[in-house]
């Protein structure tokens, strides 16, 4: 218990520093965990309580994500979401998988590394668009929908990675069964849900907490992935009053998620040896492959490689979902690799997001110097 208190206190200070410097806090939390835990001073060890808190953090993160996924909105933007999403998925999954496999990971491990490698941090991308005042750029919308697409793919990953060696037909049937129940509850109980959320007392927050926890435990009991089902619960609840649910789930998410990140750091163990060579290559690949997918997306969506650079700048950072994949499915070696990738890409990403405009201007300037006639093609 003292461990959690110490860790939370350190994170509180780090959060202040991160806000002051306007850099993402996630890498700092992980580093704090590494420094305090197994790999560092050994002052904090994970126990029953920290494990429970971490699980809550993950579950509320995913529930929150589900609340933001509004299927009808995605359907309305289908073509834009699909093409850029598929470019991003293919390029990054393939580069991530081949890279990991060539570095000596097994096929399953490579798949896990590739998934974490592919999925950018939605929180970091959106915060950077707002904080760097880029919302009006045409690339901003592309980045936002790209994040939504990645969230959808994550749901599929969670299903595939959790299936294991179960009977697939039964597994799918159970998933569909739970989904149907959740949808029916949200559809037929809509008035009841809204009447609960409208109250001014403590009921809405208790209800939100209980609903998320119940869904998670029922899923575990039935042998379907709890992670996937809490996302589905979020999607189902989003058809009632998503803003109210976000408001009631936010405190749980914010607090438990910090515990989740810091104890992920605590769990990292260098005793198996650290392969710095491997980590460096994965980090470099993680940055380069988003550059390739970013430029292709920029060319396809906006007809401009410079737009691609802007997309790249905002999507380099890997974060919460990569860590989630590492925690759920990663071996210690995979976990360490993903942790390093998250720390490096999120820090570099915060700078590229901040300075992408100057970067683009610099490149334009260079291009103009070399060939003045090129100017004509740099417009829309």
């Amino acid at each position: 218990m003292e461990g959690i208190v110490l860790a939370l206190f350190v994170c509180l200070i780090l959060a202040l520093i991160a806000k002051y410097l306007s850099v993402p806090a996630i890498p700092l939390y992980i580093l704090a965990g590494v420094a305090l835990g197994n790999a560092g001073l050994g002052m904090v060890a994970s126990d029953e309580i920290s494990r429970f808190f971490s699980e809550m953090g993950l579950i509320f993160l995913l529930f929150f994500m589900g609340l933001g996924l509004k299927p009808e909105r995605i359907a309305a933007n289908r073509s834009a979401v699909l093409v850029s999403g598929i470019i991003d998925l293919n390029i990054n999954m393939i580069i991530g998988f081949i890279g990991a496999y060539l570095l000596g990971f097994s096929i399953t491990e490579s798949l896990i590394v590739a998934s974490a490698f592919y999925i950018s941090s939605t929180a970091m991308a959106i915060t950077s668009l707002i904080e760097n005042r880029k919302l009006m750029l045409r690339e901003a919308e592309t980045v936002i929908w790209l994040m939504v697409f990645e969230d959808l793919i994550l749901i599929i990953f969670l299903a595939i990675l959790s299936a294991g060696d179960q009977n697939l037909v039964l597994f799918l049937a159970k998933i569909l069964g739970v989904l149907a129940v959740l949808y029916a509850l949200a559809h037929y109980g809509k008035e009841f849900l809204i009447s609960i959320l409208d109250r001014d007392d403590e009921l809405p927050i208790i209800f939100t907490f209980a609903a998320v926890l119940t869904t998670a435990s029922v899923s575990i009991f039935l042998g379907v992935p709890a992670t996937m089902m809490v996302i589905a619960l979020g999607v189902a609840f989003a058809t009632t009053d998503p803003d109210a649910f976000e408001q009631h789930a936010r405190p749980f998410k914010d607090v438990f998620l910090v515990v989740f990140f810091v104890f992920f750091g605590v769990s990292i163990d260098f005793s198996g040896g650290v392969n710095w060579y491997m980590i460096t290559i994965i980090c470099l690949l993680a940055i380069v492959s988003k550059l390739i997918s970013g430029i292709l997306t920029g060319l396809y969506m906006h007809g401009s490689a410079l737009s691609g650079l802007e997309i790249w700048g905002n999507t380099i950072g890997r974060g919460e979902f990569s860590i989630a994949i590492a925690v759920l499915y990663g071996s210690p070696l995979v976990g360490t690799t993903i942790a390093a990738m998250v720390i490096v890409t999120s820090i570099i990403g915060s700078f590229t997001a901040k300075y992408s405009t100057s970067l683009k201007r610099g490149i334009l300037h260079l291009g103009r110097k070399k060939s003045p006639s090129h100017r004509l093609h740099t417009g829309r």
Binding site: G68, L69, K70, R73, T122, I126, L129, I130, R133, L135, M136, L137, E141, I144, W145, M147, V148, E246, T357
Partner: protein, 164 residues
């Protein structure tokens, strides 16, 4: 006016976006972000990089007041509301700090309605609000009065009542 096309859009995780293009071809975009701040972007026609300002809700409301044509002074604020459906009816609500000369007198003996045509609709006294004060209401120093009327009536109120 109605030719101006206002586009509104919900961006997942970000908030709501409103965008419109002016007659001259400039673009204005407003984002109500989920973090509670409001960002306003303006993009001049032919320009590629917009400029942005981030505001708190209070600041955004002030900007809104300025844009509707109201006058704003340091401690006195005025809002003009135009009802375009009612033959462009315009009413102004103005706040005034009660000076010493007015303190101790009632709305009735100041003859506010008769002299100016404006009406005192509320008085703020030490963070307490008195809405629709009766004619027998006695002003105190430190009160802030909210006065409603046409802009001429408000000007009259300022001339006749405030500098007594």
């Amino acid at each position: 006016m109605s030719a101006m096309s206002l586009r509104s859009l919900n961006l997942p995780g970000v908030g709501t976006k409103y965008e419109f293009e002016t007659d001259k071809g400039d673009t204005v975009a407003i984002f109500f972000t989920k973090t509670g701040t409001i960002q306003m972007y303006t993009l001049q026609k032919g320009c590629k990089t917009p400029s942005a300002a981030e505001m708190t809700p209070v600041e955004a409301r002030r900007l809104g007041n300025i844009l509707t044509g109201a006058i704003i002074e340091a401690d006195q604020e005025s809002v003009e509301i135009a009802f375009s459906a009612l033959a462009d009816l315009r009413v102004t609500i103005h706040s005034f700090l009660i000076p010493k000369t007015v303190a101790g007198r009632t709305i009735e003996d100041l003859q506010i309605r008769a002299k100016t045509g404006a009406t005192v609709i509320a008085v703020c006294r030490q963070d307490r609000n008195i809405v629709n004060p009766p004619p027998s209401f006695v002003f105190e120093t430190g009160d802030a009065a909210l006065v409603i009327g046409e802009s001429d009536q408000i000007k009259m109120f300022e001339r006749e009542i405030m500098v007594d």
